[in-house]
């Protein structure tokens, strides 16, 4: 693992870091000081929802309980996302140190890495790495001589369910149940794993914490824009010369990103994975930031030869497969949307029906319990709206739907 490391460079996450540094520094600080440091850095959760990390940790720290947990969400199931794989494979020190700092800040005794089943090949190297940390007293009892601070990390392997990336579904599956999301509230910050306060954080968020603790809030806030501080790892795939993981400052324009990855003849970019939005060429001057298009970092590029209906069908098949089936709008609704796509494909649709389906999409977004259903109609609505001409002028379709 050592050989592939350190080839990547970047402003924040990929800037240099030595194992244990953040833990050493954090243990010399007050818990409150770490929280204020994070608050002023304005770090937001990197999984996609963008909830302020300091708020989550403050609430978890403030809840009284005999036990608390910190969960690292490495159930990276969103199509087109693979930054967590790179972070865990090449920079485990950032993620695990971030977890220990988090454990110290919120007062947790145990950390759990929820690793997706598809990344099983990472399990052994990560376990070896944790063993090394235990030897250096970066994990275990009285970490680095800090009296009373015990923290250890275990790895839990997922079993191939996209919905388990949702924090309450993740906790359900940790507890040995079907990975079906819970009603919120109560939020995991006071009733999480085994009914104890639990903070669930993305891999990239924890990596950013290690850097913020080391280099300070003003250093971190220097990058990016006012509301979106720091940098973001973008997982770029699709039609370009250089796919891969890129660390770029927040606020970068889509057209700039396309230039960096050497994409040519681009027709559309899907931002935020299957559950994100499809951006047509006319909007390539928009910025990737919480102020404009928020994202968990997935960027899929489609060039002019791609059939957007096929793309949409692929996304809807994905959601039909991955809906947990617990609530009706998502279970039935996504199937109806997929049927609609198949109708268009065969040219057996009416516009009245398609418009009904767009309405249904909005109902699914509003009535679903968790993020899966709340975002699964996004591609249906955005692709049909932005690529109206292409889709409804198909050779076997025709504008009047005959």
């Amino acid at each position: 693992m050592e050989t592939i490391k350190k080839k990547r460079t970047g402003p924040v996450i990929f800037s240099g870091y030595k194992r244990g540094d953040a833990i050493r520094k954090a243990l010399s600080m007050n818990r409150e000081d770490i929280l204020f440091e994070l608050k002023d850095s304005k770090l937001k959760g990197r999984g996609g929802a963008g909830f302020p990390t300091s708020t989550k940790w403050m609430l978890t720290a403030a809840t009284k309980a005999d036990k608390k947990f910190l969960v690292c969400n490495a159930d990276e199931g969103e199509p087109g996302t693979f930054k967590d794989r790179v972070l865990l494979m090449e920079f485990p020190e950032l993620v695990f140190d971030g977890m220990v700092v988090g454990g110290y800040t919120i007062g947790a005794q145990a950390g759990i890495v929820y690793l997706r089943g598809e990344y099983e090949y990472l399990l052994k190297p990560l376990q070896d790495y944790l063993e090394e940390m235990r030897k250096d007293n970066l994990l275990g009892k009285n970490i680095l001589g800090k009296e009373g601070f015990d923290f250890d990390i275990g790895i839990f392997l997922g079993s191939g369910a996209y919905v388990c990336g949702e924090e309450t579904a993740l906790i359900e599956s940790l507890e040995g149940h079907r990975g079906e999301p819970r009603n919120r509230p109560p939020y995991p910050i006071n009733t999480g794993y085994l009914g104890r306060p639990t903070s669930v954080n993305n891999v990239e968020t924890l990596a950013a914490v290690s850097h913020i603790v080391m280099k300070g809030r003003s250093w971190f806030a220097k990058f990016g824009s006012d509301k979106s501080t720091g940098s973001k790892l973008f997982s770029v795939s699709g039609d370009c010369e250089k796919p891969g993981v890129y660390e770029l400052p927040w606020g970068i324009k889509i057209s700039e990103l396309l230039k960096i990855v050497e994409a040519k003849n681009t027709k559309a970019v899907q931002i935020g994975g299957a559950s994100g939005h499809c951006i047509p060429k006319s909007q390539f001057n928009r910025a990737l930031a919480y102020e404009d298009i928020p994202t968990g970092g997935s960027v899929m590029i489609f060039n002019e030869i791609r059939d957007m209906l096929r793309v949409l069908k692929n996304f809807m098949e994905f959601f039909v497969d991955e809906s947990c089936g617990q609530c009706t709008p998502c279970r039935i609704g996504n199937m109806k949307l997929l049927e609609g796509v198949e109708m268009i494909e065969k040219g057996e649709y009416t516009f009245a029906h398609i418009n009904k389906l767009k309405d249904l999409g909005k109902t699914i977004q509003r009535a679903s319990k968790c993020g899966l259903g709340q975002s699964s109609p996004n591609p249906f609505i955005s692709i049909l709206e932005n690529f109206n001409d292409e889709i409804f002028n198909r050779p076997n379709g025709g504008r009047n739907g005959k």
Binding site: G80, F156, L157, R178, V236, Q270, M300
Partner: protein
């Protein structure tokens, strides 16, 4: 199932319960171990797990039926999973699948008659930058051409 086999399976499950504890939260770890070793979790295994964790067998079955990587029916000795999600789709997943189907003489979702391979689709293996991707058991292969994929299958025992 013979009595000796049953006893061996019971002992195996007991050792997992000793390793992970008999709390409900150990369930997925235990199921994962059984799945890894035996490629499926039989009805008898489900009952044993339920007995040792003190839950109803249907609870165990409900968990197995939920997760894509757990199954109660036997599969082939080697599990081949091909990523079907959009990035791999654009990099030529379809030709890859056709080549594998031709070579093994089965369709996706089926098992070869010698029980050597089961071929399935997978939803995003997280290798979108190096697609098309395929997993054989717990190893993944990337940037595949149809020929390479078939060649890899030939090397599997």
């Amino acid at each position: 199932m013979f009595v000796a086999e049953k006893n061996a399976l019971s002992e195996e499950i007991e050792s997992y319960v000793n390793k992970y504890g008999n709390d409900r939260s150990a369930l997925l770890m235990i199921l994962h171990e059984i799945q890894n070793k035996r490629r499926h979790i039989s009805e008898f295994a489900q009952q044993e797990v339920a007995r040792l964790l003190n839950i109803h067998p249907v609870e165990v079955y409900s968990v197995i039926s939920f997760f894509a990587f757990l199954n109660s029916n036997p599969k082939g000795r080697n599990l081949v999973r091909i990523c079907q999600t959009i990035s791999c789709d654009m990099k030529g997943k379809s030709t890859l699948i056709k080549a594998i189907e031709r070579e093994l003489g089965i369709k996706v979702g089926e098992t070869t008659r010698d029980n050597k391979f089961t071929v399935e689709y997978a939803n995003c293996l997280g290798l979108c930058d190096v697609g098309p991707a395929m997993a054989i058991n717990d190893r993944v292969y990337t940037n595949l051409t149809p020929e390479e994929a078939v060649e890899l299958l030939g090397k599997v025992k």
